[in-house]
Symmetry: C2
Subunit: 297 residues, 2 copies
């Protein structure tokens, strides 16, 4: 979006609410007008990946609410929380320009008052991958997503496939707790060289930014090799990890083949699968994933 | 309620639904007629304590739904779960006779499908007392209550003060997760000799049933002594425990003075307080509690 477009959008003055009571007041008037409501939960620092969620939500419902809340409970490292980018003015302008109707931007004390003491835990799908590397992360995600969904009670909520394990964790918790909402996954938006958009990309040096695209290339090539069903998956994945090392990634948390539905470990692509990776480059932790669809025949 | 009343009530045929989809269908038509909805969650084996909840719900909303579900997740002992009384025909008749409009009686597979893996944990208020003696109990309660509330989305839900720690746990989780419902506590219903009504009372022998009233007498006398502010609370409580032993209680899990709001330990009644007890008689675990209000002056 051009600077002029941002300025014109911010002149439309996207309404912002900061309390649950005000949010509910807005939702009530939407409901009274018979409108359907979609929610897009974000942590701000919006980029085109988020805006794709907004546009998807727009296609599903007559009214779109975005939330911006940097949730301390889902950060396992204080330095990561402190470094997480925040820019509400830019977020607000981009949301308005992409068809969002309301921004919910609560403070920490609104979400977690002093005596707050409840948490939501999803088992099984949260255990491997991010769950193994970021203790407490998914309990933080599950708790805040439960709250955001119950604060707004939308018809639909949209989450990016970029955080694939988060997406299926949210789908599982919504089913298990009977939250009356549809959870839509939205395809990852990528740069021209394939790097998945992420608020963390801006923490990369210019030189590391160039090398970062290798994460996507490794996922793409490994997924294609796995899809053929030829060669051991362990060999294909070992080659992928070695290639990331050569590209300058300092550490690889995982490069793993999993069942798409429940993240069970897979050695053969005998059902819908997902290839997922997390790796460190230039002190920044990048994650990405791709579907693996068995070749026909 | 007389046998004749039960029979006449059962002739009115209280509607029963067993799936969340059917429950939601009923709630939707109530909402379309502009009715307000109250939920009374129970584990069945209904007695007048439950019926007081139904009558309270009736006074608050135009429509009352009762749920009957013996929740396996809140039992810490398999023998306790197996022995828990079940009598749907009697429950249904009593509900109809007391102004309930709909019974939701799901099976275990409806509430917890095979891959169910989510749980809700409330900290702080769940840690002492029942939480210390029944591992996992309150996570089971918090999870099933969250589900029941989100399945029906009532305006009000009623819980008995008999399970006081459960009541404040539910109030805490509803506030923390932003579930849009009011939680009402309803005063404990007692037999003529003071014994709190409980589905477990019917497991007592006739002789133990007589002695069981001493639990209430000890709570009443100890609460009165604590309210005066004279004498050490530890002495008063030790005397109460000794009296339960003399009455034939085999074991006392606790007889404790706690802050009414958050169950923090108290030695002086310097704010609204609650005296809570759990003790074993004739192999049956009985619990009860009373408010402790400081004497004026």
């Amino acid at each position: 979006m051009s600077r002029a477009a941002i300025q014109s959008a911010s002149q439309t003055e996207l309404p912002v609410v900061r309390t649950v009571a005000d949010l509910r007041g807005h939702v009530r008037s939407m409901r009274r007008r018979g409108e359907s409501v979609a929610l897009v939960p974000t942590m701000g620092a919006l980029h085109d990946g988020h805006l794709a969620l907004i546009r998807h939500a727009r296609s599903r419902c007559t009214h779109v609410i975005a939330s911006v809340f940097v949730n301390p409970k889902q950060f396992d490292r204080p330095d990561d929380l402190a470094a997480y980018p925040r820019d509400e003015a830019s977020d607000r302008a981009q949301l308005a320009a992409n068809g969002c109707d309301l921004l919910f931007a609560p403070g920490v004390e609104q979400m977690y008052p002093d005596t707050f003491s409840t948490s939501v835990h999803v088992g099984q799908v949260t255990e491997p991958l991010e769950g193994a590397h970021r203790p407490g992360h998914f309990a933080g995600v599950a708790t805040v997503v439960t709250k955001l969904l119950l604060q707004s009670l939308p018809d639909v909520a949209a989450f990016g496939e970029k955080d694939y394990q988060q997406l299926i964790t949210v789908q599982r918790l919504v089913r298990d707790l009977d939250i009356p909402v549809e959870i839509d996954g939205v395809t990852t938006v990528r740069e021209a060289d394939g790097l998945a958009l992420s608020s963390r990309n801006r923490q990369l040096s210019a030189e590391a930014r160039v090398r970062a695209a290798e994460l996507y290339a490794v996922l793409r090539d490994s997924a294609a090799a796995l899809a053929t069903g030829e060669g051991a998956s362990s060999t294909i994945l070992a080659k992928g990890r070695a290639r990331l090392g050569h590209a300058g990634f300092e550490a690889i948390d995982y490069l793993d083949l999993r069942a798409a539905e429940d993240l069970a470990p897979l050695t053969h692509v005998d059902r819908p699968a997902r290839l997922l990776a997390a790796a460190w480059l230039d002190g920044v932790r990048l994650i990405d994933n791709l579907p693996v669809v068995p070749d026909a025949g």
